[in-house]
Amino acid sequence: MKPFRMLGRSIRDAFKSVIRNFSLSLASISCITITLIIVSIALIASLNVQNFTKLIERDMTIVVFLDSDTTEEQAKEIEEKISDLSNVSEYSFQTKKEVKIRMQEESDIFRTVLENFDDENSPLKDTFQVKVKEIEKIKNTAQKIEKMKHVAVVRYGEGMVDKMVKAFSSIEKVAYGIVGALILVTIFLIINTIKLTISARKKEIGIMRLVGASNFTIKTPFIVEGMILGMLGSIVPIGITTYGYVAFYKHFNGYLYSELIQLIKPDPFVYQISLIVLGIGILVGMIGSSSAVRRYLKV
């Protein structure tokens, strides 16, 4: 088949050219390598940030303490009102007793202290734990609940958590910006390196045009060459990502500073990142070489 034959020749020529112009190829490869290392670090960082902001958001709850003398019926009424609120995704109710049991399970100190109280004089209160759909509206929802009868106190992250979330999301945006800029710079560098290899082969391209090679035929080996350079350039970054992240994860036992900031498990995360890095490498090589060769095809 003619198309396959042509593709086979293109791939053969591309490999030949990578080997023949080895020093130039090495320049492109190392340039891609450095970019991809930074890209993969930025990618890992921003995906982790995204991951734990989601985790935090999911765990963010409004805790509603009821007055001590609230009856069961009154509690039911409040429950109905809470379930009517549009921003509420789920909620659970715990009586004083349940709270007491849970706290006693958690720590020995609580156990001994709480032993002295029975239901009548318990300092604990019946509580609702309310989760919201949209974290931005948590303040509004909390205020609504606070206005209800028999509600004593309402507690939620109170600014601290959502400030953190906002900070993380801006870090994420910056990381994406850096990745984008780096990719652009690399494309320009590849355009220039491949231009050099092409200008060394200007005569060959001229003869190809004379004997009736279509632009597609002339372009393909260079584009394949760019893809090969991209692939070779992504080997080291993939290695660093895979081994580096696993080591990093193990060293910190899966979380940073506090258990609140959980890292993404390496499997299958590192493989996904590796694939993305390889994809970016190939794409960058392709774009760089095809725009470099285009300038030589204008008559």
Binding site: M208, L210, V211, G212
Partner: protein
């Protein structure tokens, strides 16, 4: 049948120089035509317009039914596959052998390996270089290199062979060898040959059709013409 028809063609370069003024020509299939004229007479421009290296500013250039002037850059290869081109400076690839240089023309248009082999060896036989198949261009004399270039030009069996001063770098004996090869191709394959030259001796010896150009104007187009010094 006319293979080439040139109607009211004018070529003005971007720097303001007009190389060809209102040219009208018709060249028959199978003919052997010399284009002569002094430097700046427009003979190279004429050849370049025939293989669409240059576009005419006005008029039509029709080669084998294809309007060359209207051909887009992307489609130029369709024209180039129908013709062979030979230059004064051979334009061979130094890193490829004689065989590979000729095969190159077929490889880039996607021919099968077997048919490439047959066609390349046939073309090299026609130019008398079958025993130099594995040599590299720099191991050959100028005349031999030019014959490799001719083999590359005819390997695709084109209807038209364009030659821009093919003997410009060669001594008279080598030049006559090249002319003999070209004449054989013209006769055996029926290939139309258009050759720009300023070699008086060759034109007078060959007794072919002669187009004479002067300062971009057609002076005359004669059968069995001679190199007319006064016209130039």
């Amino acid at each position: 049948m006319d293979l080439i028809r040139i109607k009211n063609v004018e070529k003005k370069y971007k720097n303001g120089v007009t190389a060809i003024y209102d040219l009208n020509l018709a060249i028959e299939k199978g003919s052997f035509v010399f284009v002569i004229g002094g430097s700046g007479s427009g003979k190279s421009t004429l050849i370049k317009m025939l293989y669409r290296e240059e576009k005419p500013t006005k008029g039509q250039v029709i080669v084998g039914g294809l309007d060359v002037a209207k051909l887009k850059n992307k489609k130029v290869y369709k024209l180039r596959r129908k013709l062979g081109i030979v230059f004064q400076d051979y334009r061979l690839l130094p890193k490829l052998t004689v065989y590979e240089n000729v095969a190159f023309a077929l490889e880039v248009i996607g021919e099968k390996k077997d048919s490439i082999r047959i066609k390349v060896l046939k073309a090299l036989e026609e130019v008398g270089l079958k025993n130099k198949v594995h040599s590299y261009p720099d191991q050959l004399s100028g005349g031999e290199q030019q014959r490799v270039a001719i083999a590359r030009a005819i390997v695709n069996d084109p209807k038209l062979l364009l030659c821009d001063e093919p003997t410009g770098n060669l001594d008279p004996d080598r030049s006559m060898e090249i002319m003999k090869v070209l004449e054989d191709i013209n006769k055996s394959r029926g290939t139309t040959i258009i050759m720009a030259t300023h070699d008086k001796e060759i034109v007078n010896k060959m007794k072919k059709q002669v187009i004479t150009l002067k300062d971009g104007h057609l002076v005359n187009f004669k059968q069995k013409g001679k190199y007319d010094n006064e016209a130039i």
